[in-house]
Subunit: 212 residues, 2 copies
């Protein structure tokens, strides 16, 4: 092959690759990208809820829509292993508000405003066809953690904690827990900014570099 | 240019396009598909993913977007309580496709097409500041259940089961499990149409009349 022909061939082959790139680039561009929950879950048609407070500063119990948020992990502390009773009975389903989860997935930071719900569930059975272990029973408690520097400027890390009870019926509203109660434990033991990511594989796996 | 050279050029250019197609096809395949969760907000605006199959009928491993579906419950079968090893190690995070969950919440029926993912997670710790128990470690396995009367007319209840493995790296594709393997156990022990709703409080609580 002559040098000229070789050059043409290379140019044409390059153009071929470029065409392929263009065609599939257009296809990719036409596909909505799921980089955020808005994309991953489709455009939101209404804003997701944020914490609601009464005039005297109590947090109002959130509606159950948190069960559609991102479930990042499920610790289990059986009462029988924490006699006379576990501090939090017993399964802890931990949900992060999707907008805050998206921000964490993008940046590795729990942003100001982060809204986390912990729902407590009893152990309902200890053996099933899949083996011996622990199987969820019924809902029994609900707690919330919020990072909010404006509303809680004096809380360490700006994290505030609320409990709507560990037995049904749950309270309709809850006052902030003393810092010495929940906050200090999170501050001392949580891996990433008051959040126990060491037990939340869904959060770790989504975060840049596998999270902290 | 000689005929030979022209032929070579065309072949090379074609290969170039083909390469471009391959590269961007791979990118497209690696991109989680967009979906629309009713999330906390209600209306869906784009279709959620459905199971994908190869030409020879294998199910392709779903992308991780199922972690944004509805998490209905989290059974736990520790290896240590099922020596030498649990059939499913160890936490089982069970996700239902949001469209199918919505239908179940409205009607109490697991509709044709229902798509359920079970992600398996190791126990990472057995004590933490919240007490003794079980805390999630790392992802270790992935399984899928699908109810599809058209694709699986001969499976009992039309339910088909797939396993992408219990150790990483997971398989990219999986053949249907024999009916005698998964299906028979679900048929005999699951509370509501091959689904273990007795261990899924999020599903029960959403269903009309508290589910079955």
């Amino acid at each position: 092959m002559s040098t000229v022909n070789r050059t043409r061939l290379v140019r044409t082959a390059t153009a071929g690759v470029f065409l392929g790139v263009l065609v599939f680039g257009a296809l990719v561009a036409a596909t909505p990208m799921p980089r955020s929950v808005a994309a991953a879950t489709g455009k939101q048609v209404s804003p997701l809820p944020k914490p609601q407070y009464s005039d005297d500063g109590q947090m109002l119990r959130p509606d159950k829509s948190y069960r559609r948020w991102i479930q990042v992990g499920t610790p289990l502390t059986p009462n029988e292993l924490n006699l006379p009773a576990a501090p939090f009975p017993e399964f802890h389903s931990v949900y992060v508000h999707p907008d805050d989860f998206d921000h964490y997935a993008e940046t590795g930071e729990w942003r100001d405003g982060t809204y986390i719900v912990k729902e407590l569930i009893t152990i309902g059975a200890k053996s099933a066809s899949s083996g011996n272990g622990y199987f969820m029973g019924d809902f029994t408690g609900l707690e919330v953690a919020v990072k909010d520097s404006r509303r809680f400027p004096d809380e360490p890390g700006y994290w505030a904690y609320f409990s709507f009870g560990h037995e049904y019926p749950l309270a309709d509203a809850a006052s902030i827990q003393p810092s010495t109660q929940c906050n200090v434990c999170h501050a001392s033991n949580a891996k990433d900014d008051w959040v126990f990511t060491q037990y939340y594989p869904v959060a770790r796996d989504a975060a840049p570099g596998g999270g902290r």
